[in-house]
């Protein structure tokens, strides 16, 4: 069952390992560095990895969306926010050490262990049959038919987000 390293499957396996590595490293950078901008970069790296995982999960469309939305949009926005709000990290560095760090590690470790344990030991039922292949076209089709509400809902949510954020951001503007 083990594919040879140089077959396409084998190479894919290697790539998968690399992706896991990228995801993990990204996550570590995102949480452990002192400078916020670095953690945003870490977050972006992590998302690239996650996008790869999605690809392996048979949904290239979601993978691409992950890149576009998270890396291209969310991370950039966060970076802007950092520029605006807290560019100097000296103060943060001071508070990073010590108790809170330990506490955080314990919390994070516990949560991930619990989840991982549950996941591994859970009795997951294999699906009966898959009704469609989950491709882009199918997503589109279901967005147009079955989940059209979701489709419109998304736009409304985002409209609200735009309006809200613009209003909020402008509210603090000096002179207004």
């Amino acid at each position: 069952m083990n594919p040879s390293l140089f077959s396409p499957e084998g190479l894919a396996g290697v790539i998968f390992l690399i992706l896991i590595g990228v995801t993990m490293i990204g996550a570590i950078i995102a949480t452990c560095t002192k400078r916020l901008i670095r953690s945003v970069s870490g977050l972006a790296v992590c998302f690239v990895g996650v996008a790869g995982l999605y690809y392996f999960l048979n949904s290239p469309f979601v993978a691409m969306m992950e890149l576009l939305i998270y890396v291209g949009a969310v991370c950039v926005t966060i970076a802007f926010a950092i520029m605006l709000a807290e560019p100097d990290e000296a103060k943060l560095a001071r508070k990073m050490s010590g108790l809170s760090g330990g506490l955080a590690a314990v919390c994070g470790g516990a949560v991930s262990f619990a989840l991982g344990y549950a996941a591994v030991n859970g009795q997951w039922m294999a699906p009966a049959t898959q009704v469609n292949d989950g491709s882009l076209k199918m997503i589109g089709a279901s967005l147009l038919t079955k989940y059209s509400m979701v489709f419109e809902l998304i736009s409304i949510v985002l409209l609200a987000a735009i309006i809200g954020s613009v209003a909020l951001a402008r509210a603090g503007r000096r002179g207004n």
Binding site: N2, E9, A12, V14, F16, L17, I20, T23, A27, A30, L36, S39, L43, C46, V50, L53, Y54, F56, L57, S59, F61, V62, M65, E66, I69, Y70, V74, T77, I78, A81, E86, K91, L92, K95, M96, S100, A104, A105, C107, G108, V111, S112, L115, G116, A119, W124, D133, G134, M138, I139, S142, L143, I154, V157, A161, G164, S165, L168, A169, G172
Partner: protein
């Protein structure tokens, strides 16, 4: 064995869990609001990975999970937009985005 990891559900679940864990870790550890937001994004993506994994291996209709993931993304984006503007508003008013400082100011 290592090379076939990608075909196993557990791999994804564990990755999801670890991401989730990192998210929690960051959430507790980060003193600043934006840092916490970053952590939250990690948590969300951990959840999404799980969703996608279940979707791939267990769901009868693989579009559902994807659509939910997409929805999560949209929500995450909206959330990021709103929360960042809140952060900025807070920052403007209190000159700090550190949680402790905010608590102090409230008191």
């Amino acid at each position: 064995m290592m090379l076939t990891l990608s075909t196993q559900l557990n791999t994804y679940l564990i990755i999801g869990a670890i991401l989730f864990g990192f998210g929690i870790f960051g959430l507790v550890r980060r003193p600043s609001l934006i840092g916490m937001l970053i952590a939250v994004e990690l948590v969300l993506s951990g959840a999404s990975v799980n969703f996608m994994a279940f979707n791939r291996f267990l769901a009868p209709d693989p579009t559902v999970g994807q659509i939910i993931t997409l929805f999560i993304m949209a929500i995450a984006a909206a959330e990021a937009a709103i929360s960042l503007s809140i952060v900025i508003a807070v920052y403007r008013n209190y000159k700090s985005i550190e949680v402790e400082d905010l608590v102090e100011l409230k008191g």
